[in-house]
Point group: C2
Chain length 349, copies 2
DNA sequence: GTGAAAGCGCTAACAG
DNA sequence: CTGTTAGCGCTTTCAC
């Protein structure tokens, strides 16, 4: 199979008795090649195991067919959150399907940031970028806006009116979660939020407030504790909220739930009997843990797929007008909310 | 700062009154440039925000400065295991430090495998590859051996005598874990292994056996259950081992511990009182969970760093002789083994 | 439908 | 120490 490693278009052309251009046309599936010729060239290509050199193609066509995934420092600590690997899987798979290569830019340290940002912007490397969303003052976003590289952001960015992004309906998702708790009968409902300098954190808090408001429940500021989407963040936030004795709690990410539940256990509280829990994300682990987690499902892999598709669209057709895609979310009722114990749940239409 | 996007070496050369070659020399930090000239060129480069085109550089120098990380389908389900993201961080960071770009090749489906393998081998894309280890019959390894791309493998591969790899001392690590349990006083010690068609799984099982053997404890085959390094794998393996009433158990990865502990809880067993546990990896979560996990620490990030360094060495200096790096491991004693309750632990010299 | 020729922007001998 | 020159292997007009 994989025979001569260093063939060029020229060689294939000679071997099939045509010109370089024709071979190029065949490889790129362009029209204007007669069927017999196409066949002949294809045969030679298969027999030789030829692959065109990508650097040369990039240089000539001004397209590398590489897209970059940028994970800024501010979400680095979240890399153990299964959310990111899951999203990455969706992105990687869609890259493959579209014959693009995925470059991964992880910013570990501030030093990385200095070295990496200029490199990313080098011409001839990536055709476009997918950036994980962060707070507004992130250096990365500034650079993206100034640069001329097509990009798309996961999650609505804060001060980037012209940016394209893909997001889920965080507000409505959180609203669903809290309304569900209210329907079951809880009234003293707390929340552990995401970082409130991100739109994701803010929107989910808004949804929480909206659900309470809709049911004429006044919210107690002491029952709102800011988390940071990490497991240990969830743990400490839970400790902070516990003295105020919520009977139920909406936690803005499943990964934080893991930490929070540990805090509950250490304080002798069992879920859902002593405290009901609804999360957000629906990670694979959420259905397997015990008690299984009632949560808001967001379509993580499809989100990754859409990010790639949107980016490719922008690369091909320009960044204007900005693309905005919002995925819906879905309430998944399991054990941790206590619905099955407390009442016969009858839908919440 | 980021001004004109489409400058070329030629432009910089003209602007600083020298030839293209000289600018190239300055950029690549080659000798044979007088200090004044270097200064002048550097000034122009900074003022213009010039970055050389990477595709052109790749083509001319036959080096892309991109290295690929290949995660085969057989470890895809492990992508939620924090081990992989951690390793990826180490790899990414070291790539940055060495001015290389990291390309991520995730094989989700069999289809991906067909599309991706040929693409990876295209000339002009990657300078070399880091492959996560898998079982011997993985298509990927076959392809790597046949191809002419430099590569290095994480974990000793099975039937690849000439391959370079970076690994930890799995056998001795497992040995440490089990010897520790024996020292504390347990005698009916079980193990949940990794996949036994991988060297990692096999070596850790060997270490378990060796420790028992050394203490003249005959091993009970019913206390050895094969896992697959996943959380749910740990769960089911634990269910399978429980009827045979081990008083302690060595679990070949911390991530599997998470599943196993859930199985213990559901069966009314508490750790370490009813069953002692020692894991392997020492993930960030291992010290935070409750009870905190006694485990074998392996230096995951340094491992990633060494992988990159080894690969770059191979790229520069050839793949012969094969490089083999084995990292040591370390027993980290926490709560889950019950050492502190059972006895005053006095080291195990 | 096919081929010839002109680059893409850089590196790397080779002169000088 | 610096400049000239010849490619790297492909895409892409433009003729025919």
């Amino acid at each position: 199979m994989g025979l001569n490693p260093k063939l060029t278009l020229e060689d294939i052309a000679r071997m099939s008795g045509v010109s370089r251009s024709t071979v190029s046309r065949v490889i790129n599936q362009q029209p204007n090649v007669s069927e017999p010729v196409r066949q002949r060239v294809m045969d030679v290509i298969h027999q030789t195991g030829f692959h065109p050199n990508l650097a040369a193609r990039s240089l000539a066509s001004q397209r590398s067919y590489i897209i970059g995934l940028v994970i800024p420092r501010s979400v680095q600590n979240l890399f153990s959150d299964p959310y990111i690997p899951l999203l990455t899987q969706g992105i990687a798979q869609t890259c493959n399907q579209n014959n693009h290569t995925l470059a991964l830019f992880l910013f570990n340290t501030e030093e990385d940031e200095y070295k990496l940002l200029p490199r990313i912007r080098r011409p001839g490397l990536v055709d476009g970028l997918i950036a994980l969303s962060t707070h507004a003052d992130d250096e990365l976003l500034t650079q993206l806006r100034q640069g001329d590289i097509p990009y798309v952001i996961t999650g609505r960015p804060m001060n980037l009116p012209d940016a394209s992004y893909v997001d889920v309906d965080n507000l409505y998702g959180a609203f669903l979660a809290v309304r569900h708790l209210i329907h079951i009968g809880y009234r003293h409902i707390g929340t552990i939020t995401g970082p409130l300098k991100t739109t994701t954190g803010m929107d989910r808090l808004e949804g929480y407030k909206k659900a309470l408001f809709e049911s004429f429940i006044e919210y107690d500021p002491r029952l709102i504790v800011e988390g940071d989407f990490t497991q240990s963040g969830g743990y400490y936030a839970a400790l902070k909220i516990l003295p105020h004795q919520p009977d139920a709690i909406f936690i803005a990410s499943d990964y934080m739930v893991l930490g929070a539940i540990q805090a509950f256990q250490e304080n002798g509280l069992t879920v859902p009997d002593d405290i009901a829990v609804v999360g957000f994300d629906d990670l694979p682990i959420s259905s397997q843990m015990s008690p299984s987690l009632t949560t808001i499902r967001q379509p993580i892999r499809p989100l990754g797929a859409k990010l790639v598709e949107t980016l490719l669209d922008i690369i091909d057709n320009g960044s204007q007008p900005p693309r905005r895609v919002i995925f819906g979310t879905e309430l998944v009722i399991r054990e941790s909310c206590g619905a099955h114990q407390k009442m016969v749940f009858q839908g919440d239409g």
